[in-house]
């Protein structure tokens, strides 16, 4: 039995090598996940907040001041645009979260206390409604000094232009009235994603989608190992059946882990994706990779034709990913579908990753999810071993 571990590693190594040699795999493993993460990131919007487009008159001090007020908000970034048409286009395509159109002579109208009409372009989503509130508050804040100055003008007969700086000064010196807001029935979905970077949500969803998908689609290689007769030939060497099974399982695991490490490393470096607590995330990925490898082994043992296995693998992988919240966040699912999601490993993995990334979760916070995934992994591994043993020895 002294050759057991070296032989397991030899078989594992050659399975991974064969996987990496297959050029067909490289597109699906290396390129497609990143492309989807970028695509989802662009849809999701800017990192940690919203981009608001503003069309403002040139050299208008009040417009510039309003822009500064908006820009001062942590969750807002102002993008200046030249015309309303461009603004409309960018908001409608989701490039910008909202748009603001300030009228010509904004400063003069403000100083003269004339009625002002500011155009607000929003998107049909809850985030846009929240944005409008922020914009309205900034405008109200700016116009408050003007209103106070006009009140004083009426009272003391001095020109408004002279009194506006005084009103500003007075407001700065007076104790602020702070309204403490308790949000009732707040938009939990948007709150959930408020702290996420642009690519964070897409990266975690695609991680679980592709680790599982790659494992299932790669089951064809396992079938070819049997078809070539290499698996049987290995048994004519001093390699016992349990060692062969462990080596083949190791190969599946190495492929799943390679896919996971690739996505995590590249997205962290290239897109600054936050993967949360390293220990907890590593443990989650480790368990999920074992589970995915076992699922691939089940498929590779049940089918006799590698094309059928690959086709079925892709189909099952995509359906599970859709049901389990890897294509759309579970928070957008209706209650019934959320329960269905938890029948898939993706559902548990995405839930755990949400806790780790969005709420700085640690192992204890995701212990239940890790436990369920580990139980699934063990169950699948036992089934896969039995099926593969039967397929090799029959």
């Amino acid at each position: 039995m002294t050759r057991a571990l070296p032989n397991v590693l030899t078989i594992t190594r050659v399975e991974l090598l064969r996987f990496l040699r297959d050029r067909g795999n490289l597109f699906f493993v290396l390129i497609l996940p990143l492309a989807l993460i970028v695509f989802i990131g662009l849809q999701f919007g800017g990192a940690g907040g919203y981009e608001v487009g503003v069309v403002a008159p040139d050299d208008d001090p009040a417009a510039a001041e309003l822009i500064d007020r908006l820009d001062a908000s942590d969750s807002l970034t102002v993008v200046a645009l030249a015309d309303e048409e461009g603004l409309t286009s960018q908001v409608s395509r989701g490039v910008l979260s909202a748009g603001l159109v300030l009228p010509e002579d904004y400063a003069a109208a403000l100083a003269a206390a004339e009625p002002i009409r500011i155009g607000y372009l929003g998107r049909p989503d809850p985030g846009s409604r929240s944005l409008r509130t922020v914009v309205e508050a900034a405008v109200a804040d700016q116009s408050a000094a003007s209103e106070a100055a006009h009140l004083a003008t009426t009272a003391v007969g001095r020109p408004a232009a002279e009194l506006i700086p005084v009103a500003e000064q007075v407001r700065a010196d007076l104790p602020q009235v702070t309204v403490v807001t308790d949000t009732v029935g707040r938009d939990e979905v948007m709150a959930e994603f408020a702290a996420l970077g642009q690519f964070d949500l897409g990266a975690s969803g695609q991680l679980f989608l592709f680790v599982f998908l790659t494992s299932l689609a790669g089951s064809g290689a396992l079938i070819r190992t049997r078809q070539y007769g290499v698996a049987a030939r290995m048994l004519s060497t001093p390699t016992r059946l349990p060692v062969l099974l462990a080596g083949l399982a190791g190969g599946r695991f190495a492929i799943a882990a390679f896919q996971a490490v690739y996505i995590v490393a590249v997205t962290a470096v290239a897109f600054g994706v936050d993967w949360g607590d390293p220990l907890t995330t590593t443990l989650l990925i480790l368990i999920y990779s074992i589970l995915s490898a076992a699922a691939g082994m089940v498929l590779g043992s049940l089918f006799r034709n590698d094309s059928q296995a690959t086709g079925a693998g892709i189909g099952i992988g995509l359906v599970f990913a859709a049901l389990g919240g890897s294509m759309m966040a579970l928070e957008f699912f209706p209650e019934g579908m959320r329960r269905v999601a938890m029948l898939t490993p993706h559902g548990w993995a995405n839930t755990a990753m949400a806790e780790i990334v969005r709420r700085d979760g640690t192992i204890t916070d995701v212990a239940i999810e890790l436990g369920v995934l580990a139980a699934m992994a063990v169950g699948l591994l036992v089934l896969a071993t039995w099926l593969l043993r039967r397929a090799i020895t029959r």
Binding site: M1, R3, P6, N7, T10, I11, V14, L17, R18, R21, D22, T225, Y228, G229, V230, A232, R233, M234, L235, S236, T237, P238, T239, R240, L241
Partner: protein
Amino acid sequence: MDALLRCEGLERSFGRVQAVAGVSLAVAEGETYGLLGPNGAGKTTSISMIAGLLEPDAGQVVILGDRMTPRATAAKRHVGLVPQDLAIYPDLTARENLAFFARLYGLERARRDRRIDEVLEVIGLSERAGDRASTYSGGMKRRLNIGIGLLHAPRLLILDEPTVGVDPQSRNAILESVENLASVGMAVLYTTHYMEEAERLCDRIGIIDQGTLIAEGTRRELVATIAEQDLVRLKVVGDAAGAADACQALPGVGSADAEDDTVVCLLDEAASHLPALLEAVAATGASVAGVEVKEPDLEDVFLHLTGHALRD
């Protein structure tokens, strides 16, 4: 004879089908033993038990004193198996395929590298060692398949029909390789359903049919089982069956059978009986269109023992 391999009463069934029903044989060091039989005779099942891929239902395999079972790692070190179907990774190079199996045999790095170079030389793939096996011709893949079995310099090499589906040139190269291996003292167990291969390569031959070893010995010994008789083929025009009956009735004729338009006779001293045979055929009203006299070969032995041809 000091047997390197000894099989005793091997039996193996798959469901209700008994594939091997009591095979016993022994192979000595440096001997080439041929297992000759038609497709489905039980050759590959016997080989699988000898190589430790299958557990026998009954009987045992002993190699150099170690009992062979699927769990017997020690016994497996003595054996190199060349399966009937190509058992290589087409997506790896020849060198990578050899290195993979060398590692499984536990060859240390220095010896592994040396053996890989030696085997590549023996199988004539040194020049293409870095190319993927998928780019090889059928013959080159066959040679790589054999090379893997030689890697760890086994005491016993088992070749299961290694020339099936191989072009004549590659086939000859394979047979020459086997002859060379035997000449350096390696014991070879060679299964085939090609009589010519068994006659060319094997010191001793076991004839297997329907899972049973029905005869065993050197070529000369096996041919002698049909009483050192000569074989005469008479191509007749007319009633072949009647002509065969007439021949059978002659003294000294062991057997006479009609095969289509030919009468096949086994008899002592063909030369002295030939005129009588021709007269007997003519007496039935048939005429002889051709005569062939030859010593019996393994094909005839098989026909004699089983009643059907080797390639049926």
